[in-house]
Symmetry: C2
């Protein structure tokens, strides 16, 4: 057996040991869990996140959305154009500062909130966890994210 490349397993952690991979897998799982629910209202998962930010606070700039979602304009611009083409929002240059593009919900975009309202409960139920457990887990992950961002 000596000399085989499998003599030194300690060099490579097993994928299942990686916290980053558990997050990667969970992200996939969430995306898949949301997909059928979002398909009913014609949104993708990232589009749903953008709409959620706008339902929370309307009339935000591309930059504000990017900060909240950790996304670049190179990602947001095409995504927002698709939502605009769907008639869910408008994009207009800010009169005071023409560099800024302000994103506003249309009436259909605002109305969609009602149809999306039941989705979080579906996911909660699918997760099989209590609101309390979920909140604790969320806070731990958020703190981890904060530390990773500080370290970079």
């Amino acid at each position: 057996m000596s000399g085989s490349r499998h003599d030194t397993p300690a060099l490579t952690a097993r994928l299942d040991d990686f916290l980053c991979f558990s997050i990667y897998a969970a992200e996939h799982a969430f995306s898949r869990a949301y997909k059928p629910l979002l398909a009913e209202i014609g949104l993708t998962y990232p589009q749903y996140l953008v709409m959620t930010v706008l339902w929370e606070e309307d009339d935000q700039s591309v930059g504000q959305l990017g900060t909240k979602l950790s996304l670049e304009s190179s990602t947001l611009t095409p995504l927002l154009k698709r939502l605009e083409a769907e008639g869910l929002l408008t994009r207009h240059r800010d009169k005071q500062d023409e560099r800024v593009v302000r994103v506003k919900l249309t009436q259909p975009g605002d109305k969609l909130r009602n149809r999306a309202a039941k989705i979080p409960a579906c996911i909660l139920s699918a997760s099989g966890m209590s609101l309390d457990e979920l909140g604790k887990l969320r806070d731990q992950i958020t703190q981890l994210t904060k530390r990773l961002e500080e370290a970079v």
Copy 2:
């Protein structure tokens, strides 16, 4: 105030309340934390995950890799072709079953493991958590993923 669209905030959970968003953000943070480290060895984050699976066990089919990473062949095939073009692995049809493509590390691909070996420790340090905390968090997330997958 009555009649404003902001009368019913309960309809829309705040984005920060979403566990799914904390995972989404953590996935981004991990990806960004890994990026400079992986750039040194010329890998992207998904490519690193594939290589990790192969370092763990060489000579796997595209399907096996897909199962372990929750990825479709439509994602893996182009990714594997890039790694093949880099000379890190080979792709060959299985002699016993020509439907199957077996992926094997080349010597450079195997050697890369040594250069990648220090990366997990860097991330661990950046996360600012103990191995024990990390393990507990990982197990909770893995369980959550399992439940979400079962519910779909």
